[in-house]
């Protein structure tokens, strides 16, 4: 499985930093898990949707909306009035989900490979590991 391309990774990192991580505050409460919760939930969903044989287009869109919904929840909000934020997050969510879906297609749903892809992507998002070029 190949990792998300660096441009998408970079933009995803920036959007998450701008609209999510910066709102989590600074302190011991902000763990790696809390920073990655929306992403993890979204990737879980993508796997389940792929396994259920659902339609890629609608499910990847839904995954984008799901990422945004989890970010709203994790930042203690029900809504946002910022349409730019909504667009940015759902867009990166949809693109990441699209990539994950393609990888699942390619590996015929190899769960362990998918898990390592998700973990590597998460590390790259948090820049805890160098991005493979």
């Amino acid at each position: 499985m190949s990792l998300i391309d660096s441009t998408l990774l970079q933009s995803s990192r920036e959007e998450l930093k701008k609209y999510y991580w910066s709102k989590l505050g600074k302190g011991s409460d902000v763990t790696k898990d809390s920073k990655l919760k929306p992403f993890s939930e979204m990737t879980d969903y993508v796997y389940k949707a792929w396994k259920a044989g659902l339609d890629k287009k609608s499910e990847t869109h839904y995954a984008g909306a799901l990422l945004f919904d989890f970010i709203l929840q994790c930042t203690g909000r029900r809504f946002t009035s910022d349409v730019v934020e909504a667009n940015a997050i759902t867009e990166i969510g949809r693109k990441m989900a699209d990539h994950m879906w393609n990888q699942l297609d390619a590996s015929n749903g190899d769960f362990s490979a998918y898990k390592s892809l998700v973990s590597e992507t998460a590390d790259s998002l948090l820049e805890t590991k160098k991005v493979k070029k």
Partner: protein, 658 residues
């Protein structure tokens, strides 16, 4: 000063009605002094009671004349003799003749003789007219209609911009942002369980409707399926449309069963499973108003059976539930509601004349938002089940079933509920709907049937009722539905009825409307527009408020006279004579038939119709301004259409008091 003038002009129609009403009620006696009761001879009026009418149908009496009604009873069943506003009910046993009176009628006008003893299925509509001459109120009503028509035309001649009867159409209140109630309402609408919580009680009521329809008392007004549905529900829906748009569609249990099965969920958003449905694409050519409009008309052809025979009502609702489930299991979304449900046609059409609408807070925000969860569905809500192309850009309520999924799913909190003046969207939607003939015909069918029903059910013409009823005097439930087999001659008379109902609604009135539209276009001097393709359908949208107000008047008549029937049915749904029901054990709900202010009904109904008239004329003007882009042209065409609209108000006045 200018503003004051406009306010005066806008309120003038109402003022005229009030002045004429007061004049009629208090001055007429002094103008036409009554004959002293002692001076006059007593006139004996022979009246024959039969199922379901009186002979003569119309009785003329002079103001102050002393009369005795000599009532010859029916051969088989007992009837009751009641006159609007008189404080008595006289029991008329079969084969007996009863004298009622002497009595004097002091106030000119029209009163109804009604049957006060349940005598069969059409009992609530067994009426005759007493016209107390000189029928001055009738002429007053005619003058009022002419005055309201004329004043509204004068008002639009002044060129009000984007206004309806003096009220700005730009102003609206966002109900979800009103201090106090707004946040509570918003929370309720965004709660996923709200739909289920609202529908569930109606599912229970629906089961009672089906059970009573098939197994309850065969006489309509003694049965829950008829008393509650065709008196209480029918009235409630019309008033819901005016004040709360398509709220009935929010509450309706008909599509719920199919939707719950297809979604595999009662109220949550269930992703990760394909819908339990074939998820077929609905044929585009059928995705319009014609299906439900013709369904509504089809039901109207058998309406005397439907609203008086429990079995027929039960059968209709069972069929609708089955169709609702089947349609949802084939097409997933609410195509049953969109194209089959007969109520959808009129609820959707008239919702455009409602104070209430689901709209976006700021359309530009919706436009900018890429994901559009309202269309695709999101974690908090399904994609619009009504297949509204773009809920964020809604400018009409026709296809919005008020399920509030968009309010739930929008992460930008940009969908809301607006309260605004009647007719805010009519002009805009009308000019875009140049070839939506289905919508135009919904308007024609509804408008005509509202007037026709007033004539049939509350008019004294017994033959009209009998034709529609196919001459059958029996009530019907599952066990005796065979008695509905008509004789050949009765069926032939029903065909006459069907031709009248369908012919007037589908052909005659639309033809007259077309002629007036054509004249209006000529008067406007809009040579570059085609009557058929550009003007006819848009102008028909003025019937959205007018038709709604006609129905508000008709159903108010229905409930004010017959309120006791549905109320009693809550304590005895099956009509089996239970002292109290195990479902709602409230003995106090057993009410005796006792019409509310029946002698004042014309004075209550006519102002409602006149408001509808003023709204229709003003709507025509607003549509014409958008269509022609010129105020003078718009005024000239409106003046022509106002003649037709006023003519229909005059006709309504004739029915209720002429």
């Amino acid at each position: 000063m200018k503003k004051n003038k406009k306010v005066v002009l806008a309120t003038l129609p109402l003022a005229i009605i009030i002045i004429l009403f007061v004049f009629t009620q208090f001055s007429v006696i002094s103008i036409f002094p009554s004959v002293s009761a002692q001076d006059s001879e007593v006139r004996v009026i022979d009246v024959r009671a039969f199922q379901f009418g009186w002979e003569p149908e119309i009785i003329h009496i002079d103001t102050g004349e002393q009369v005795i009604f000599r009532i010859e009873g029916d051969k088989v069943v007992a009837h009751g003799f009641y006159i609007d506003g008189k404080d008595f009910y006289v029991y008329i046993p079969p084969l007996e003749t009863v004298d009622v009176g002497p009595m004097v009628f002091d106030t000119p006008g029209k009163l109804k003789i009604r049957c006060s003893e349940t005598c069969g299925p059409l009992h609530p509509f067994m009426v005759a007219d007493i016209i107390i001459e000189p029928n001055f109120p009738y002429y007053t009503f005619l003058l009022s209609a002419l005055a309201v028509g004329a004043v509204t035309v004068v008002y639009v001649q002044r060129g009000p911009k984007n206004k309806m009867l003096g009220v700005s159409l730009d102003k609206e209140v966002d109900l979800l942002r009103v201090r106090g109630i707004g946040p509570i309402l918003k929370k309720a609408l965004q709660w996923r369980g709200i739909h289920f919580a609202l529908i569930w009680p109606n599912v229970v009521i629906f089961m009672i409707v089906l059970a009573s329809g098939f197994f309850g008392n065969p006489t309509g007004n003694l049965n829950f399926s008829v008393g509650v549905v065709w008196i209480l529900w029918l009235t409630a829906v019309e008033y819901m449309i005016l004040f709360a748009g398509r709220t009935w569609c929010t509450l309706c249990p008909l599509p719920a069963f199919g939707e719950w099965i297809a979604r595999r969920r009662i109220y949550g958003v269930h992703k990760l499973r394909k819908p339990f449905s074939l998820d077929k694409k609905f044929p585009k050519s059928l995705n319009n108003m014609w299906g439900s409009a013709l369904g509504f008309l089809g039901i109207s052809l058998v309406v005397p059976w439907l609203v008086t025979r429990p079995w027929v009502s039960g059968l209709l609702f069972l069929a609708l539930i089955i169709l609702g489930v089947v349609f949802t299991l084939v097409y997933t979304r609410r195509y049953f509601c969109r194209v089959i449900c007969p109520a959808n046609s009129y609820i959707g059409y008239h919702a455009n004349a409602s104070f209430y609408a689901v709209r976006s807070v700021d359309k530009s925000t919706c436009d900018k938002h890429i994901e559009k969860e309202c269309m695709r569905g999101g974690p908090k809500g399904y994609a619009c089940p009504w297949v509204t192309p773009y809920p964020g850009g809604l400018t009409e309520s026709t296809w919005c079933g008020q399920c509030y999924e968009c309010v739930k799913s929008c992460p930008l909190d940009n969908m809301s509920v607006k309260y605004r003046m009647i007719g805010k969207d009519i002009a805009n939607m009308a000019v875009l709907a140049k070839r939506r003939f289905g919508m135009a015909w919904v308007g024609f069918i509804r408008f005509n049937l509202g007037i026709f029903y007033e004539l049939v059910f509350f008019g004294s013409f017994w033959a009209l009722k009998d034709w529609g009823n196919m001459g059958i005097i029996f009530g019907v439930n599952l066990f005796n539905f065979g008695v509905l087999s008509p004789t050949t001659s009765a069926f032939q008379m029903w065909l006459v009825w069907a031709v009248i109902v369908a012919g007037v609604s589908l052909v005659a009135y639309p033809a007259v409307f077309f002629v007036f539209t054509s004249l209006a276009k000529m008067a406007a001097g809009a040579k570059n527009l085609s009557t058929k393709n550009d003007v006819f359908v848009p102008f028909s949208y003025a019937l959205a408020p007018y038709g709604l107000f006609i129905w508000l008047a008709f159903t108010l008549n229905l409930i004010l006279v017959n309120w006791a029937y549905p109320l009693s049915r809550f304590s005895d749904p099956m009509g089996w004579g239970w002292e109290s029901s195990p479902i709602i054990p409230v003995e106090g709900l057993k009410a005796s038939w006792n019409p509310l202010a029946p002698e004042l009904l014309p004075y209550i109904l006519m102002p409602i119709v006149l408001i509808g008239l003023a709204l229709a004329i003003n709507s025509t003007y607003n549509i014409a301004v958008k269509l022609f882009g010129d105020q003078r042209m718009a005024f000239r065409s409106t003046a022509v259409m106002a003649i037709l609209h006023t003519g229909m108000a005059l006709f309504f006045a004739w029915i209720i008091i002429g």
